[in-house]
């Protein structure tokens, strides 16, 4: 559960998007975040929607996976929309009911801003749904590579991320075990007043912390025993391959950008 919350919900499949290099996907998402802000009218937003839906279709990820995890996001989007409807007071009034007035500008902004928000979420979901977390880590490490010259600990961060990924299921299992052990000793995790339930976390967290430190120490010993001595002089087993699809996809985004610049008002 938690694994899904933190690291997206990778859905293995064989699609164009799945086969893309994680680096190109990361670059595209990053650029898309900027490109979205160019749009300012119906045509340009329309183009963004078409592009995003095209990506979604190419990813072959079933809709229920895409929208399943977005409930909270929808609430946020609706909230943003309503905020604009209620608070923006510009342009002619288009609807009036007693004290409640909707202005044209409010409606326009409400739609555009929540749409922008929605598209950003959708495109990042496509990234996490089609890319294994470890591949995202590899991609980030490779993209941030140049920062090594500035003494930025790229390798260490990537290693931390991959170890975190590796240990999440282990720690989830352990949490489950500790919860059961503490329940057997009379701790209530799922009923009673909120205050008690919050307090019940303590006998869960403390053993979890203690054992995590022990794990960390043993893992460090095991790594050292296998010759780990930092990032210098290490080779890589996983290999990222930049293919024609990746270049093509970047060009597609470039085309979209040009289109947006031409048609914006």
């Amino acid at each position: 559960m938690m694994e899904k919350m933190i690291f997206g919900r990778y859905v293995p499949a064989d699609s164009v998007i799945h086969r893309m290099d994680p680096r190109s996907k990361l670059i595209i998402v990053l650029l898309f975040v900027c490109v979205v802000f160019i749009a300012n009218n119906a045509i340009t937003y329309g183009a963004l929607v078409v592009y995003t839906l095209l990506m979604l279709a190419m990813s072959k990820v079933p809709m229920r996976f895409v929208f399943g995890g977005l409930k909270l996001v929808f609430i946020l989007i609706i909230f943003t929309f309503l905020m604009h409807i209620f608070l923006t007071r510009e342009g002619p009034i288009i609807f009036e009911l007693g004290w409640f007035k909707v202005y044209e500008e409010g409606l326009r902004q409400g739609i555009f801003i929540s749409l922008r928000f929605f598209l950003l979420i959708l495109i990042t979901s496509i990234l996490t749904l089609t890319t294994a977390p470890i591949a995202i880590t590899d991609g980030l490490e490779s993209l941030l590579g140049p920062l090594k010259k500035l003494k930025f600990p790229v390798h260490e961060l990537a290693l931390m991320m991959s170890i975190a990924l590796r240990f999440i299921p282990t720690l989830m299992e352990e949490t489950d075990k500790i919860m059961k052990a503490q329940s057997a000793r009379g701790v209530e995790f799922s009923s009673g007043p909120v205050k008690d339930r919050v307090m019940a976390i303590i006998p869960l967290l403390i053993p979890l912390f203690v054992s995590s430190f022990k794990r960390a120490e043993e893992l460090a010993t095991a790594m050292e025993a296998r010759g780990y001595r930092g990032g210098d002089g290490r080779t890589r087993y996983r290999k990222l391959v930049w293919s024609g699809i990746d270049t093509l996809m970047l060009l597609l985004l470039l085309a979209l950008t040009i289109l947006l610049i031409i048609f914006r008002t």
Binding site: S162, R166, T170, E173, E218, A225, T235
Partner: protein, 279 residues
Amino acid sequence: MKNSLVQIRNLSFKYDENADYALKDVTFDIYEGEWLAIVGHNGSGKSTMAKLLNGLNFPKEGSITVDGLLLSEETVWDIRDKIGMVFQNPDNQFVGTTVQDDVAFGLENHGIEREEMIKRVHNALESVKMEQFLDQEPHHLSGGQKQRVAIAGVLALRPNIIVLDEATSMLDPRGREEVLETIRQLKASQEMTVISITHDLEEAAKADRMIVMNKGQLYREGSPEDIFQLDEELISLGLDIPFPVKMSKMLKGLNIPVSKHHLSEEELVEELWTSHLKM
């Protein structure tokens, strides 16, 4: 006797200045190609010994020489290349996110070319019979399978010596047998020296040689036959004796002629069913 591969001389170690010695004046040799079992009560210094051997800790006094190299800050990485270690907890030594990544971890550390890595990862996994699990994630593997992956990770680095620090103690009997069988086959096929730290005396009984540790000191060194002759003494050291040995002794006590104290159940059964009991 075979060639001495590791010489440990007057080794002493403390974790803390004020603490007691975790190891005190330990001297012994490890011979090429042998299976050496180290036994002893909890806290007798077995794991400390293993960590010193690999330079994970440095001795306060005494010296360790591995394959002609004296262990020091300068040689520690070369010595680590010669000695592979498998630890007790299967989860806490699994570094990679998948089986093949984990096996490759040590190779990556040594800066080995990718082509070569792929070959070695596959070979190593094949020799522990885990090649069909290449992309499996650790939480989908059993404890025994994880330990076999850990062994593959060590094998890929081609060490001369493999140290198992209670590597089977968290496994069920089936997993334990799987792992030991893997090691036995590897030892036979690749001329490896195996040092097995264990509480399982049945396993120790199958070793070529045994070392008994007591309170940080080397208590006795010898063949399993010799060591299990000690019986009462072993029990006073917090150890037990394997069931077949106990059984042979009891049979003797009942005046049933058993030729010797058998170390394995098969041997004992073999003698019993072929003997002509005159009762």
